[in-house]
Symmetry: C2
Subunit: 191 residues, 2 copies
């Protein structure tokens, strides 16, 4: 959040984050955001121009907050995957927001790209990848693995006959994710 | 589709599939489905009771159609992953529908579960997995890898400086997915 943000702006962004994560861009109601933030909804248009720009700001902040909460460790990508998994289990609204983004407004946001860029560069530096593998692919696959359980169909998750989100079940999926990232890197890295 | 489906029911399901894939459950308009299917919208309620049940029917059919189009090969899971990847690139509406389902109506549908069950059993039989790995985890991780590129943020995809959906770029991601599945199984399977 920029240092000149007013308290109202912060409250609006918090309320908008909750609203967009729950209902998506089309389903979100600017009125509800105003009520939740105890602010006149005209202030939303004043600060953020329109619903789409508010959404973009919320997405960008969400990514920044995740990056802060889960330090990127290019020398330990399996560990990063595990920590990000833990974070998303506790804060699934970040993933929901990213998924709505993909469905409803899949545009390239410059600030979002700047958040990814150092990660991709760090992977390229940290891993001596075989020439066939792009660090962008590595990061995309890791994110696919990390979000696999939250994205899986409830019908599939329930087949393991345990509560899909019990600590024990989550620990097993987490271990599988970490092991999978390790296996992919082992096979991709040239010694 | 059950053999007693009328031509109207088929048209309605086709139109509903396109509408739900594009706009999701909340965003879909029953009126538009009726117009697209050249059918009175009252027929929708007659055949499918309400919008939610129509959505569930469409989701179940989508999964059945994917299962038909992409034969499950438990003895060659990397090959399955590659074929499913190809299929989803050509028919991303199946993935969009599944993602809306997760966001808007994440319930366990019995028919959907019956589509997953033989796959999970076949993985358990085909792979001699180490005791730590659940075949449900394997399948969830494979699906996470297969959908990683389509689910990745455009901001990330664009960092590889090629059109994300050019044949060459897709071939590279596909190869990475297949290699990743192979690596995971190699590390998970007890010799």
């Amino acid at each position: 959040m920029p240092p000149d943000s007013t308290a109202t702006e912060k409250r609006l962004l918090e309320a908008a984050f909750a609203e967009f994560a729950k209902h998506g861009l089309a389903g979100a109601r600017v009125d509800r955001i105003g009520i939740e933030a105890a602010a006149n909804k005209r202030l939303i248009y004043l600060h953020f121009t329109n619903k789409e720009q508010l959404f973009d700001t919320v997405v960008t902040h969400s990514i920044a907050r995740m990056s802060e909460a889960v330090p990127f460790t290019p020398d330990d990508l399996p560990g990063y995957a595990g920590t990000l998994f833990d974070h998303l289990i506790v804060h699934p609204e970040h993933l929901r927001l990213a998924v709505w983004e993909q469905l409803e407004r899949p545009v390239v946001r410059p600030q979002e790209q700047e958040a990814y860029r150092p990660k991709v560069s760090a992977i390229a530096r940290a891993q001596s990848l075989s020439t066939k593998l792009d660090p962008v692919d590595i990061l995309a696959l890791i994110l696919g693995l990390v979000t696999a359980w939250l994205s899986a169909s409830p019908a599939l998750r329930q087949l393991s006959k345990e509560d899909a989100f019990s600590p024990k079940r989550l620990a097993r999926q987490r271990a599988a994710v970490v092991a999978a990232v390790r296996a992919i890197l082992r096979s991709a890295v040239t010694a």
